[in-house]
């Protein structure tokens, strides 16, 4: 079943985060006024972002200055001859037309710029089609692109409190790492302000205190923390709970097993 919605309600950053954590494979179709875009993912990583149909064609490699028109024609011919699931990028690399670094660099930069532009859309319908794959001759990044830093980039462009308040209702909350952040950080490129905030997160200080200690505004601190939250690195807890780190929150009154069993039996018999 396709996932449908609007990025006004479920932001593109949130959706990218869902794709990342769910290791999703498929195509995300976006439309806003008369603009459209299509993003292809494989196991939670980005293969291609197309802002127009031509971006999914082999000629993109000519536009990006990676190959000339003759080389593209030659690669397409070889692709047809080889068939069986080989991608255009593989053919180009196997033929030694370009180095992996050059091809990856050009396609990655193009893909990232395409996605950055989408973050400016205030709203737009989305539809995610599971397991939809690009055409064999589409110019895919040879190494699928990690989307953690794209999520952070999307968050950097948020300029309204409203969206941030949905996830961070108060600056009295304490940010706390859910697990050692090392692995997640590898794919990220943090801005200096984000590093400042990151370095101040100790599981005890509130967002307001971090703002005070870093000299950043509440908004800047909350925006950075919003990014870390969206990337799945942090959780926010209330002060009291943070002080009781390791202790469970206020316990519910314990109920007797026999009482629960009686309710279970009754519901089963209904």
């Amino acid at each position: 079943m396709a996932l449908v919605g609007n990025i006004r309600d479920f932001s593109l950053s949130d959706f990218l985060s869902l794709v990342d954590r769910g290791y999703k494979t498929g195509a995300l179709h976006l439309s806003h006024n008369d603009q459209t875009a299509r993003l292809y993912f494989e196991k939670g990583k980005l293969l291609l972002a197309a802002r127009r149909p031509e971006d999914e064609k082999p000629e993109l490699l000519v536009r990006l200055g990676v190959l000339n028109a003759d080389q593209v024609a030659q690669a397409c011919k070889a692709l047809t001859a080889r068939g069986n699931g080989v991608t255009l990028s593989q053919v180009v690399l196997d033929a030694g037309m370009v180095s992996l670094e050059r091809l990856q660099g050009a396609l990655m930069s193009h893909t990232e710029q395409s996605v950055y532009g989408l973050f400016a859309w205030p709203e737009g319908d989305f539809l995610f089609e599971h397991n939809q794959r690009p055409a064999p001759d589409a110019p895919l990044a040879p190494v699928p692109i990690s989307i953690d830093h794209l999520i952070m980039e999307g968050v950097r462009r948020i300029d309204e409190w409203e969206r941030i308040r949905d996830r961070i209702p108060s600056t009295d909350l304490v940010p706390r790492f859910m697990a050692p952040p090392g692995e997640k950080l590898k794919g990220m490129r943090l801005a200096p302000e984000e590093w400042k905030v990151f370095a101040r997160i100790n599981g005890r200080d509130t967002l307001a205190e971090i703002a005070q200690k870093t000299g950043l505004s509440d908004f800047d601190v909350c925006r950075a923390v919003y990014g870390f939250l969206t990337a799945g690195m942090l959780e926010l807890v209330k002060r009291q709970r943070a002080l009781n780190a390791g202790m469970p929150p206020v316990e519910q009154p314990r109920v007797k097993k026999s009482l629960v069993n009686r309710i279970i039996n009754r519901i089963r018999s209904m």
């Binding site: 996932l3 996830r167 209702p169 807890v237 009154p253 314990r254 109920v255 209904m270």
Partner: protein
């Protein structure tokens, strides 16, 4: 007579009233009024106080089901309802991603201060374009140990299943 309480919560139009109606043995006491704010766009009437249903477990034990008011301005009721509850069902309209943020806010309210046993019921799974329970888990950022269950609030077996799954969570934490 001992009474125990379960709370059914969720955003506006998540299906709380329907959920309780489907399983309650008494006609649900519901204070529905004509909606006067933006909820009017979603349905003509919405719950402004709360729903109340009841299931007799035995001669000396009764289970009460309370549906929380959906709108933000009735937050104060949540605190009252949460006191002493056995467990919590969070209903989500699986077809409306625009309610996921509000659902997270509700989960946060009920769960952050208390160690509340809860399950999430992915309602309206019978509708086209319903997000699957696993997709909802990701969208709502719920950890793997929290049960996210498929649900159709108008279907008695489906509602029973959600309540039973919640009871199994409560059972694990209960004392001999």
């Amino acid at each position: 007579m001992q009474t125990v309480k379960m709370v059914i919560s969720g955003a506006v139009n998540a299906g709380k009233t329907e959920f309780i109606k489907t399983i309650s043995e008494i006609e649900v006491v519901s204070t529905e009024r004509r909606a006067t704010d933006d909820t009017r766009l979603i349905k003509k009437e919405t719950t402004v106080a709360m729903d109340f249903g009841r299931i007799a477990i035995s001669d000396d034990l009764v289970l009460h089901l309370f549906g929380t008011p959906g709108q933000k301005r009735f937050d104060f009721m949540w605190e009252i309802l949460a006191e002493g509850m056995l467990g919590l069902v969070i209903l989500v309209d699986s077809t409306r991603p625009e309610t996921f943020r509000e659902t997270n806010r509700i989960i946060d309210f009920f769960v952050s201060y208390r160690d509340t046993p809860y399950v999430i019921a992915a309602n309206k799974q019978d509708r086209p374009n319903a997000w699957s329970p696993e997709e909802l888990r990701l969208a709502l950022r719920q950890p793997p140990h929290i049960k996210v269950l498929p649900c159709t609030a108008t279907d008695r077996e489906s509602v029973k299943n959600v309540l039973l799954e919640l009871l199994y969570v409560i059972q694990e934490r209960s004392e001999d």
